[in-house]
């Protein structure tokens, strides 16, 4: 028997309240002290409601982060720009990533999931596969366009190139070795593109 429209709305409201509670709590107490009980209390639902939909707190938090990045995508924040100027597009995206890392609402759950995944291979694989890889894939699509247009060498290692862009920023953020700034990521983009042989003007005959 399918649920009535009212029951569906109530379900969706509960689901939303649970995800919001998980995001808020992980920022307040950290991943290790996060409990299903606390999420249920904050969301105003019973513990069993959570266990009916998710097997673990990690699964709740992963869905909460996916919902958060899904909202960002709907707001256009995660559409990868393609203005024809690769350097400018990468700077735009890395500046937005800096802004996210500096935004407590994104920063706390992302930090918690990254840390938890680093020492829990199963959770790490879910985090990387479901949250991170789709973002890296957006970079690769944009970079593939530049390769196809002859602006990057045909044999460019796209995965290496993406990690050269996001790796140093993630490192500085996670280990707090230096402040995150737009100037930092702009300089990073320029150095990386020089390093992989990016040509700023379209060649007469596109390389293959």
């Amino acid at each position: 028997m399918s649920k009535s429209p009212d029951a569906s709305r109530r379900s969706e409201r509960s689901r939303r309240a649970i995800l919001d509670a998980a995001l808020a709590l992980v920022g307040e107490v950290g991943y290790n002290k996060l409990t299903i009980e606390a999420i249920a209390a904050r969301a105003g639902v019973g513990k069993q409601t959570i266990y009916r939909w998710w097997p673990s707190k990690a699964a709740v938090l992963l869905d909460a982060s996916l919902a958060l990045s899904g909202e960002a995508a709907e707001e256009g924040e995660w559409t990868f720009p393609d203005t024809g100027d690769l350097a400018a597009d990468l700077k735009t995206v890395l500046r937005a990533t800096v802004d996210q890392f500096l935004d407590e609402r994104y920063e706390a759950p992302t930090r918690a999931l990254t840390a938890a995944g680093a020492t829990d291979p199963e959770l790490g694989a879910q985090f990387t596969g479901q949250l991170l890889e789709p973002q890296l894939a957006l970079y690769e699509v944009r970079l593939r366009t530049a390769v196809d247009g002859g602006l990057l060498p045909a044999d460019t290692d796209l995965r290496l190139l993406v990690e050269m862009l996001v790796g140093p920023l993630t490192y500085r953020w996670l280990l707090r070795t230096a402040p995150l700034t737009h100037a930092h990521t702009d300089a990073l983009v320029d150095a990386v593109l020089r390093g992989v042989g990016y040509v700023t003007t379209r060649p007469a005959a596109a390389g293959t």
Copy 2:
């Protein structure tokens, strides 16, 4: 009153046993489940012996990791090579880092400390300041030599350059986005050095 030679030897033996126990246990159970009680039991000492020397399990583990990297330094593993060929020297060091990341003895405690520090700012500052920064400083000294020799532009941002080298490798290791290989870090070094304007032959007049 100073301790007798026998007492000093016993202290050093206990200290060593405690650090070894901490390293072994963090690899087995992870940082979150690591306890002072378990370290004491494994080391064959009383809990109070540990609390006399260290305020917390984080402090024990940090000292254990420092001892481990101190041993590596004594074995010559962490002396930064200077053969005159910067690219070759960086490849040597990053290959050694890959080997460390693939060595369970180093990998487990480093992963545990990185993850714990990511969500605990105080521990993170200790980890970064005491364990990580001294290693980054070795890179900077070597790169400074290249700048002074005119092989890198005088205005090179050394911190950015170091993070362009270690960031992508740390990212791939921590988030398990792709396998760690010497070929990967070799390609990384080549791309990064090209990107920051490294000249492979010494110019007639060194730039300032």
